[in-house]
Assembly symmetry: D2
Homo-oligomer: 337 residues x 4
Amino acid sequence: MILDLDPTLLESEVSALCLRLKQMKFVPVKQPGCRLALVQGVDKHVRPDAFLHLHGVQKVSPLKEKYKLASRFSHPEPTIIECKGKRIGGGHLFVAAGPCSIESKEQMDASAKAAAAHGATALRGGAFKPRTSPYDFQGMGEEGLQILRDAGEKYNLLTLSEVMEPAQVELAAGYVDILQVGARNMQNFSLLKELGKVKNPILLKRGFSATYQDLLMAAEYIMAHGNPNVILCERGIRTFETYTRNTLDLNAVCALKELTHLPIVVDPSHGTGIRSFVAPMSLASIAAGADGLVIEMHPDPDRSLSDAQQTISFDAFGKIMRDATLIKQTLAEASVI
Amino acid sequence: MILDLDPTLLESEVSALCLRLKQMKFVPVKQPGCRLALVQGVDKHVRPDAFLHLHGVQKVSPLKEKYKLASRFSHPEPTIIECKGKRIGGGHLFVAAGPCSIESKEQMDASAKAAAAHGATALRGGAFKPRTSPYDFQGMGEEGLQILRDAGEKYNLLTLSEVMEPAQVELAAGYVDILQVGARNMQNFSLLKELGKVKNPILLKRGFSATYQDLLMAAEYIMAHGNPNVILCERGIRTFETYTRNTLDLNAVCALKELTHLPIVVDPSHGTGIRSFVAPMSLASIAAGADGLVIEMHPDPDRSLSDAQQTISFDAFGKIMRDATLIKQTLAEASVI
Amino acid sequence: MILDLDPTLLESEVSALCLRLKQMKFVPVKQPGCRLALVQGVDKHVRPDAFLHLHGVQKVSPLKEKYKLASRFSHPEPTIIECKGKRIGGGHLFVAAGPCSIESKEQMDASAKAAAAHGATALRGGAFKPRTSPYDFQGMGEEGLQILRDAGEKYNLLTLSEVMEPAQVELAAGYVDILQVGARNMQNFSLLKELGKVKNPILLKRGFSATYQDLLMAAEYIMAHGNPNVILCERGIRTFETYTRNTLDLNAVCALKELTHLPIVVDPSHGTGIRSFVAPMSLASIAAGADGLVIEMHPDPDRSLSDAQQTISFDAFGKIMRDATLIKQTLAEASVI
Amino acid sequence: MILDLDPTLLESEVSALCLRLKQMKFVPVKQPGCRLALVQGVDKHVRPDAFLHLHGVQKVSPLKEKYKLASRFSHPEPTIIECKGKRIGGGHLFVAAGPCSIESKEQMDASAKAAAAHGATALRGGAFKPRTSPYDFQGMGEEGLQILRDAGEKYNLLTLSEVMEPAQVELAAGYVDILQVGARNMQNFSLLKELGKVKNPILLKRGFSATYQDLLMAAEYIMAHGNPNVILCERGIRTFETYTRNTLDLNAVCALKELTHLPIVVDPSHGTGIRSFVAPMSLASIAAGADGLVIEMHPDPDRSLSDAQQTISFDAFGKIMRDATLIKQTLAEASVI
């Protein structure tokens, strides 16, 4: 249930309304633009007009669609997320590049320098690593976040890093601009709720067997709990094919453009798992209409501590940036003609 | 890396060894039977004999298989988990039954009474619910856990309930006998690590597009972090078929029997999503060799707050218990002949 | 469109009606019980009452469901197919056993002897082999069919063999009782039409990524073209799991029982691809309610020219027959209580 | 097994060699460039040197790879197929456009005119339609092939149409330039063998759950039986996603470029099933490196007798041709820099 409020309500009146709703056993969360979302247990049997007599409620939207805040139906214009003067979505090319794992100060400095030189928007790097084996390297933790922040600031890049549990959110949000939810955590609802409480943009990766609707419902969790700044990321799905690590689903770009106003980016590194496929699938993503790319690169790809087989060199990254920009320009000019 | 220690070592000597390993940048975790597992970052380039000179280390097992503690290779006999005098695995029929969500004291008391009358081992019920929509009922929380505990104690049933985040583990472990990891959290590694620190049996559900190896690696996380009591649960995978909610994969029972010593149970409620399929697929599971079943039942299935379409009545449950027991006996007698 | 005719019509009147329908650009096919199916191009825009004035037409059934003849809705009782005094479907246990490929007279004689001794209904063996490599052994052809027929007759077994193209149907129907459509040919519509013209029972294997509806539509092809004797066979689907050759989907047994009146059997040999899984999955199939089994066995499984890794010995087959019969009895008795 | 022959052999000597091989129970097929392929039953136990003493045999290649003729390993340069002065593969943009089903002379004339005006290479249209329902329109047959041929000749376009069974191959090859194998028939081995006997280029569509290797093995069937002119076509795979008809797998373009020398084209109409997705996915295909496109268009898309929801207008096709050409140029120029 979404309640649109009278925009002239005083803060104290909103608080009183929230208190009243809690007494009615609902959990209200404030949204941008004088709205409340009722989350965690709206009784299906409550009729919308039970809310209309409450002081300050102007309109009640029952949830006919499964996702409301993320839907293009209720918000036809594409969302543009602003972060430190950079824009994500709405025709602006967003590219995050960097190593899978943060390994050292030198590695991140070199990566940031190359990313900036080739025109990337953000520097990525993992400090908390979701590894399928308990015996593998699990990341540098907070020390890694500091290294990432310093490298980003030095080269005027946004920073992007993954969080894996609710307790890490506040810590990471203090160091990093954009928080990432990994594919394996796309339906970690406790984590999604916690991310609703911060203001950082959230890069939400599609689970490897999540439908488009599952992905949008996960975005709705973050939004309904208070954070509207969600970026969706297609990163490949699991199919019967074993030649590639995953099957990159670029239909998702078209489908999500139709279903939601949120920005959509593509991760061709995980989506293919093969170094030589990253460039062609990056260009295919942009041609399909994606708002950006997330790419694993490393000063010395073969020595990368994780994901070496899908990590590209700085030079290869430079060529992708050049070609992706050319394709974006070509298509922009063509649509004008 | 697994280190087998001299069984005559004093506690203080083990502590000294652990300290030494931490200085070497490893994270040691104590295992049953005088073993240490080195988790979270064993350097691939360290040679096993670097550990052999350490005081008290008798044998070093580098990880050729991806999972070591869960593997049948290193532990050929089936594991039998004992909990309050009941046995799980190794030919004992384990059946957990109860509603999807804990809704009230009356509902749980009636469910426990029926479960016990028909010979179930455990009472299940969700207090923290992983719902795909943020607007849906998210469970009764701690109040629900108390209701569950009381009903279980009254009818001498083990209790089973899901935890969704690391911060819930300690709380839930105080109320509930068996903690469940849901399919969507099978690779929530932070949660798995936390579950390694308690002693309760863990019912680990297979993610809906997890391979057998993925599932065993998730079990290995819990075991390597200190808790050997893991029960695996097949609950259906996501395929192209839309007539059923999931495709129940009973090949998994045969495959896991071959790969691991851990008990394997089946959840035909989620595995089919259709009430009338629960009985035949329960019997098929037992015939395939499963160690038990997890079944959603409710005093009034059509009024269940969640999963109504796959929830069965007490009478239907009674018939399943009777027929499953008959099949188990028939097969046990046949194998003797 | 299905037309029910006046049962007192003379043959000549039916012929005249068919001629009239052909002039109207429809293709009528005679069905059991005074019915005509209009196949291959019924115009969606023709209204049913355009047929009601035709002489002899009593009822016109437009196709609301996608499959009509195969549907349980229009034919609630399970179909029992009779063939040389043996019955398939409706509670009778049908088991076909034999080698993947027919290799020699001796091999087939030994197989038939063992199959009969253990109580099988039919002898299976491939004469035309659908091999994924053009360089592999493609079967003995007609010579193989003769060997199969002789072995079946000697031991009073029905015979079952695969056809791969329309031109083989007539030839094979002269030798073999039951014709099989392989998974790769489930949507070979030219072949399905040709099989509609013979009277032999058809064992139709589910394609490895066919939905239940796809399978039923394929059955409908055979039935609409004149042959009502279709047996459906679940033989595993392709998923992301690579440990097994296929993922056997026993939900299909429950679903097809609900959707159709046709008999449903299971092939655990292809459905698992692993010899040690054939027995437990055979028993699981029977417990789930399947009408029978199709099993690959060989006098010397390790020397089988094809599918050796999933082929079982005569002794293993005997044990499956014994245990499957016990489970079927147990469940039959239980349902009486 | 592949035998390379002495290029100076007389025709009569080759015939004698073939006769000798047949007596040895092998089936030899002549290949381009003085080669023989031994198909249909090479005994695994025969050693290669058993052939070396035969008159005229210079080299014997046992099949270490599963596919030999299709492999890039044995033929590093991309194959360019020439047909009536047009070139397919090797950087030449091949585009086939036209309606799903051939419906009338007027429809095909209009389609051919538009296709030619916008720069297409070929006119497509179905005369034999593989329909999942026996009651649906199954195509105009030979009459349709004549209409297709006439329209193609009038506008100087190659023609492309599907064949569904071995018996149709000779007929269709007399009318149509390029013969198509549909996704459902990709492993119809009888059909593939028959297509090995003609010289027309074959457009081989990937089955909707075929792996890359399955597709290449199907191509190998056609090639080993004598026809080297195979064009591979990605047309979407079946996954759990139901929003789109299929999931278009553009990783396949990169993978097949690596594995084979054959041309690779993409069908975004079936690969998405949604009209508005055809343009962006066409451009994505070209950006990923595809050699061409196969697109369903119709003079009046909403009145198309089949596949209306994925069929585009002539204008939409014109815009795709323009943009695809621009992207191809942009990338060609970029690779020079």
